[in-house]
């Protein structure tokens, strides 16, 4: 179908279009008008972007109000991660959930922010935060351990609500 649509060609320009000058003046007045419009620039270090809930920033582990992580160290996230960025080592506890990650490490040099870990997690324990300021100056610092990953649930409520509404 699309092939049969005749192409609209602007070959028959009017006289005023042909002598070019009025068209230039039109263009110039357009840009002049734009000069007095407010600018859209966000001046980054001073003004920071507040991402919406759908934003996929740095993946973090959810920490419940009692200070314990939700993760049960099932290893699914590590298995699904296309960039092989996650390393989980399980340990046993006396708590109700019985398992917890002894070691949980995300290599931020590898992570591609795909969000698959978040999607696969059965416990809603790993979610994408709004943090986009990820800075490190050497490779060792790029391995984010539990100390950096654990984030209080209050900070992640936005994303969790979003997931509950749209995931699955």
């Amino acid at each position: 179908m699309s092939g049969t649509v005749p192409k609209k060609r602007l070959k028959d320009l009017s006289f005023w279009q042909k002598i070019y000058v009025p068209e230039i003046i039109k263009g110039l007045s357009q840009t002049l008008k734009q000069m007095f419009q407010p600018s859209f620039t966000m001046e980054y270090p001073e003004v920071k972007f507040d991402p919406p809930a759908s934003y996929r920033g740095r993946p973090v582990l959810v920490q419940e109000e009692n200070g314990i992580e939700r993760c049960v160290a099932c290893g699914l996230c590590s298995r699904v991660c296309p960039a092989l960025a996650i390393e989980v080592q399980a340990g046993e506890t006396e708590r109700e959930k019985e398992r917890y990650p002894e070691k949980f490490e995300i290599n931020m040099l590898r992570c591609i922010f795909c969000g698959l870990c978040e999607e696969v997690c059965p416990e809603e324990a790993i979610v994408m935060s709004k943090d986009y300021e990820i800075v490190f100056t050497n490779r060792a610092d790029a391995l984010y351990g539990k100390d950096k990953l654990l984030t209080p649930i209050a900070k992640l409520q936005d994303r969790i609500n979003f997931l509950r509404q749209y995931k699955g």
């Binding site: 263009g27 110039l28 840009t31 600018s39 859209f40």
Partner: protein, 343 residues
């Protein structure tokens, strides 16, 4: 002997003032280019270095100075390093004949407010701007890169095509001034007798040719980024690149100064004599008028750059030969008729 010394000192003072003025104007022209481009695109533009980013041009130059100077292996080293300085030389020497104010009298001697009041001033400018083409062509050819070469060739073809309409438009001006001396051309445009008013077609063709001569958009084919990487200066870095950069902006200033001198009455401030100011104030106003006109034209140059897309190469040639050339001829006839009637 004393006279001689006096004139040498005056000339030196004028050179120092004008050269510094150009350099400062160029740096702020770059700044304003970036600011105006930002405004047209609803951005903010440079605002980090110094108050409102006013030190940005100096930071840029410093950065360029510290960069490594790379010369391609296949380049012709001598010509490769000579080209940017031809460009600079041409850009800076052309100012010598542009009057930015009337003659003033100091200690009983008459001093014209221009570097050199030569009686073939306009020819001098035309000759020098044609040498400017060599800078670009040499740069393109000696780099040993096909993009540079194409840029250089385009530039020479473009300059040749547009110099003709430029020359004919200037001829229209000369009919009225009866002189090649820039000062007299300006004086001939007293009151509202500006050449832009008398011969609008010539004004248009000259402005278009000036855009083409300075390689500014929409005629910046020698450096068309999407096709030629950077055109003739693809293989330049560090200070040599800066020299080209400087020359481009200096050329813009010459372009607008020439337009002002030839068509917009130079330093003439219409009817300023009738206001009854003291002579010093009058001269000040006239010099001010020159710079205001020049500034407005510079703004226009930048404004056009951020509004109009680049021409295709064949369109450029078509316009040059089939539109600009006949138009400038027509203007010449019109100017001749007008001059006869007004006599």
């Amino acid at each position: 002997m004393n006279d001689f010394l006096f004139y040498i000192i005056v000339a030196l003072v004028k050179i120092v003032i004008i050269a510094n003025m150009i350099l400062i104007t160029v740096s702020y022209l770059v700044y304003f280019e970036r600011k105006i481009s930002a405004w047209t695109q609803n951005r903010v533009g440079p605002n980090r270095v110094g108050y409102l980013g006013l030190l940005q041009p100096f930071a840029d130059v410093l950065k360029l100075l510290l960069k490594e100077d790379i010369v391609p292996k296949v380049a012709n080293k001598f010509i490769h390093s000579m080209a940017p300085f031809i460009a600079l030389f041409v850009a800076f020497t052309t100012y010598a004949v542009i009057p930015f104010g009337p003659s003033i009298t100091l200690w009983g001697k008459e001093i014209p407010l221009m570097m050199a009041d030569v009686n073939i001033g306009i020819l001098y400018v035309l000759a020098l701007t044609s040498i400017g083409v060599y800078a670009i062509t040499f740069a393109g050819w000696s780099s040993g890169s096909k993009y540079s070469l194409l840029g250089g060739i385009r530039s020479s073809a473009q300059m040749i095509s547009y110099e003709i309409s430029m020359g004919f438009s200037i001829a229209g001006v000369l009919i009225f001034s009866q002189s090649l001396r820039p000062m007299e051309i300006v004086i001939a445009q007293h009151g509202w007798m500006w050449n832009a008013v008398l011969q609008p077609v010539g004004f248009l063709t000259f402005v278009v040719a000036a855009f083409a001569e300075t390689n500014r958009l929409p005629f910046d084919l020698p450096e068309a980024e999407p096709e030629l990487v950077g055109g003739y200066h693809t293989e330049y870095s560090s200070m040599k690149f800066a020299a080209f950069f400087l020359a481009e902006y200096a050329n813009m200033i010459i372009g607008s100064a020439m337009i002002v001198t030839l068509y917009l009455g130079g330093w003439q401030f219409p009817y300023v004599e009738t206001f009854g100011f003291s002579p010093a104030v009058t001269i000040g106003l006239q010099v001010g008028a020159f710079f205001v006109k020049m500034g407005a034209l510079l703004f226009f140059f930048i404004w056009v750059r951020w509004s109009i897309p680049r021409f295709r190469y064949d369109q450029l040639m078509n316009i040059g030969w089939k539109v600009m050339f006949p138009l400038s001829l027509l203007n010449l006839i019109w100017a001749a008729i007008l001059a006869m009637i007004m006599k």
